[in-house]
């Protein structure tokens, strides 16, 4: 509940994405656009990814970030945005999932 009234620029994903862009890097932005059940991160949360797979922020409690990073590198290459959906960890349906039992939808788009 420590709410700073100013942005934590060193950790803010959107500030970091802008910095990467200024450095000439290719960047993807992933955003939680929908949640069902007990999702770890609220709608609107961001994960930002560069073409080398570096990332900041989060879209879950660490459960699906790996998969999002992989997809984001694709999105950086193709320029085509993707909508990803993650549910409860289930080997038959998904390689990765949320152990909390929730479901999330993540929109991944290239910056620029």
């Amino acid at each position: 509940m420590e709410n700073s009234i100013y942005l934590d620029e060193a950790r803010d994903p959107l500030i970091i994405a802008e910095g990467w862009m200024k450095d000439g890097k290719d960047v993807a932005i992933a955003t939680v656009v929908e949640t069902w059940g007990s999702a770890p991160r609220p709608v609107g949360s961001h994960l930002v990814i560069d073409a080398d797979g570096n990332f900041h922020g989060s879209v879950s409690g660490g459960c699906v970030e790996g998969a999002v990073v992989t997809e984001a590198i694709d999105v950086i290459g193709s320029g085509e945005a993707k909508m990803l959906e993650f549910g409860v960890a289930d080997e038959t349906a998904w390689q990765v999932g949320l152990s909390c039992g929730g479901r999330i939808k993540v929109y991944v788009e290239r910056l620029g």
Partner: protein
């Protein structure tokens, strides 16, 4: 995401101004909407609601799905006066999600011993507010009873369009305050925004109960931003 949209969004966020990034999930096009920008129709209504609640989400309008990512500054509460009410108000407000800063030049009142874990300035409001200006995502409660300390801060809060401005004191005390604020150049409309006597009328008797009344009033003001015309704020 449009790089220009990202830059504009970060400018707003750094300046503690609210903005919403509206993304058409069909074609990926996006744009920034600032608080007060006119947007018509259903989308406009959804945007207005997102500014009020701070909640992000999708909305379907005429067969298109838009994602609204609401970026609201962290609201905060500045309390003028390191008094008994403030001792109760500071921890309550923090729990409710409104970080508190207390300002009181009287060093006997503004001691870390009386206010553990609170941002505390034993200085005149003039000095502190020069460093950390008030803004529309700040609430201000003036509770010293001392015009020398309260008046400047109240005028500054009205000028900065703080989402809540409250002042401790009876109606009689407030009538005199109104005269002084007019003399300082505040308009009658501005002065009408001051909640005085301070706090929702819940019959609060103790300092802690008054703190509850003040906090509830500030939250009400925050959550009804933009709705002033539809219902008077208590």
């Amino acid at each position: 995401m449009d790089p220009y949209a990202l830059k504009s969004l970060n400018v707003e966020r750094r300046a503690r101004r609210a903005a919403i990034l509206v993304t058409d999930l069909g074609d990926g096009r996006d744009r920034i909407v600032r608080e007060g920008d006119p947007v018509a129709g259903e989308l406009g209504a959804a945007i207005a609601k997102a500014f009020r609640t701070g909640n992000s989400g999708s909305v379907e309008v005429e067969g298109r799905t838009f994602f609204l990512n609401a970026h609201l500054p962290q609201p905060r509460l500045v309390v003028i006066g390191a008094v008994h009410i403030s001792q109760a108000l500071a921890p309550m407000a923090k729990i409710a999600g409104y970080p508190v800063e207390i300002i009181d030049p009287r060093t006997a009142f503004a001691t870390p011993d009386r206010f553990p874990d609170v941002a505390l300035s034993a200085e005149w409001p003039e000095e502190v507010l020069k460093r950390q200006p008030l803004d529309s995502y700040t609430a201000l409660a003036a509770v010293t009873h001392d015009p020398k300390i309260d008046d400047f801060a109240l005028k500054a809060a009205l000028d900065a369009n703080c989402f809540y401005v409250g002042a401790l004191g009876s109606r009689k005390t407030h009538a005199k305050r109104v005269e002084r604020l007019l003399a300082l150049g505040a308009s009658a409309d501005q002065i009408a925004r001051i909640h005085a006597p301070i706090g929702l009328d819940i019959g609060a008797a103790s300092p802690a109960e008054i703190a509850v009344a003040v906090l509830a009033q500030a939250i009400h003001a925050f959550r009804s931003r933009g709705l002033e015309s539809k219902g008077a704020v208590a």
